[in-house]
Symmetry: C2
Subunit: 313 residues, 2 copies
């Protein structure tokens, strides 16, 4: 039962972990946003890829959702001593990922291949694919000027109003063979509960991606990252509002119109069922909050069941 | 009382620390071998520069002489998990040095300037200068083939017989303005007890260096790294023997003939006094072993006194 999941950072990684737990080894492929990637001290850092990889590898920090559990921050302390601005909280183990990935990228290896090797070393039974191998950079228009995503998200603590989004470089990117093969072979496509504008949006903006999704005959299920008019984590709610989108499960459904045929919403948004149905989508209302590991597995099984993927199992 | 010291790794760093303790702040400049430098995971690592910097900065690991005290090795553990061969023991804080230096080198900054900035951040009251800004690589001819210094020294544990030394790239290097100014202004030049062939040798091989030393009117004192026919640390004794040098304080003096006018030897080598005098050098026999910090300070003061640098203080 081949499942392709589109995911950004923490929320997406949680559902991906649930899907991995619910499926036989090798049946899940996660296509991950890389438009948050940035360079720091000559290191190429891929926050969403790392969050998905650490989560699926069982080494993620359960407190934060990002980074590695029981992490030390001695290198960062030394960088502070050297007078560096250490706004991005690089752990020591995490640093190893960036050092190794950067060295391999510099030697000409593609991000897709590097990610496969690192994931494999961590014993991950799923496939993790960057959305593309070319650099794409989410640039946010704010009153403070153009900010790249990590500047906005981490350095400035999501304080700025986002008035527009530019996906710098996306026109030169293209969907990789691995991504296209995954979507062509998928029996279910899941849009994880990630930010639709800065996580799922960049994935869909990669040339070739939208066509690959729409041309797939597989059921396509989106899990709303907005519950009761709010984002559980991250700035999706504020960002959707300032960009003129409706901050609701229905608003999410509208953004995925023509791409998705099934929406999973929280019980809190049960009353939006008709509005979403009017968009031509079937709706499943359930407990969409993932508090712990059992929650992830339960929600994942419900998503798969809703897509018909668990039929006969 | 401006003092210039030529130094390699651990032994040289110890005497440099003693000199720093014995002199007013700003009076010591250490010119350091960089021919051991190498690249690992895209990081430019300068073992001797780092050993001198950590030692003068008071953060060196006193057990090993290299690396940082109370160091953690979590990044290295993660690299092992990623299947990397982790023969070079990179600590987490140490890694920060390499990451930052590599990023600055890549942006075009010179090693001399980077080293000054890092040393300054650590509050070091002396100046630390790389022997040159160009890459030079000590390649050792061994029965196992050509090995770079760290491969020979760390990876293969100094097991190979060294039959020849090539300083790859040294012909394209040149003495920096900072090094030449230091030597021109030095009132004493100290050859630290470092390996004469792979630590002091490369420094002297940089075009312009030998002339800068010989043209200086300052007293030039070498401290023998060979005591009682053995190196206290490292492979200098085996290496000197296989390269056809005499493994004794006199052998060291012969290698520095024409460059140095004073030799400091251990009491154990008192009987070589006449042989060394015959080379035109004045000899001071003392306790040349640096067991602890007080030893370093004592030996440094003796060296400076022997050079006449402590006269009138």
């Amino acid at each position: 039962m081949k499942v392709a999941a589109l995911a950004g950072g923490v929320g997406g990684a949680k559902l991906a972990a649930g899907l991995q737990a619910a499926l036989p080894p090798g049946d899940l492929t996660v296509i991950v946003n890389t438009a948050d990637d940035f360079d720091l001290w000559g290191l190429h850092i891929c926050p969403d890829l790392d969050t998905v990889m650490y989560t699926l590898g069982g080494v993620a920090n359960p407190e934060t959702g990002w980074g590695i559990k029981n992490e030390s921050f001695d290198a960062l302390g030394m960088l502070t001593r050297y007078g560096e601005d250490t706004w991005f909280k690089l752990g020591d183990r995490d640093l190893a990922t960036h050092v190794l990935r950067s060295a391999r990228l510099r030697s000409g290896e593609l991000l897709t291949s590097i990610t496969a090797a690192l994931s494999n070393s961590l014993g991950i039974p799923s496939y993790i694919l960057p959305m593309c191998d070319e650099p794409v950079s989410t640039m946010l228009d704010t009153p403070a000027g153009k900010l790249n995503f990590q500047e906005y998200f981490v350095r400035r603590g999501q304080q700025d109003e986002v008035r527009g989004i530019e996906l710098r470089g996306v026109e030169k990117a293209r969907s990789t063979a691995a991504v296209l093969d995954t979507l062509a072979g998928a029996e279910t496509i899941v849009f994880c509960p990630s930010n639709p504008v800065v996580s799922i949006g960049p994935i869909l903006a990669v040339p070739g991606m939208r066509e690959a999704v729409t041309s797939s005959p597989a059921p396509k299920v989106a899990v709303s990252p907005i519950i009761g008019g709010r984002a559980l984590k991250g700035p999706a709610d504020k960002m959707l509002a300032s960009l003129g989108h409706e901050v609701s499960a229905t608003g999410i459904a509208r953004m995925y119109e023509g791409l998705v045929d099934r929406m999973v919403v929280d019980h809190a948004d049960e009353d939006e069922r008709n509005d979403i149905s009017d968009l031509g989508m079937t709706v499943l209302a359930t407990d969409a909050v993932m508090r712990d590991e059992p929650d992830r597995g339960r929600l994942a099984r419900e998503v798969l069941g809703f897509a018909g993927s668990l039929a006969g199992r």
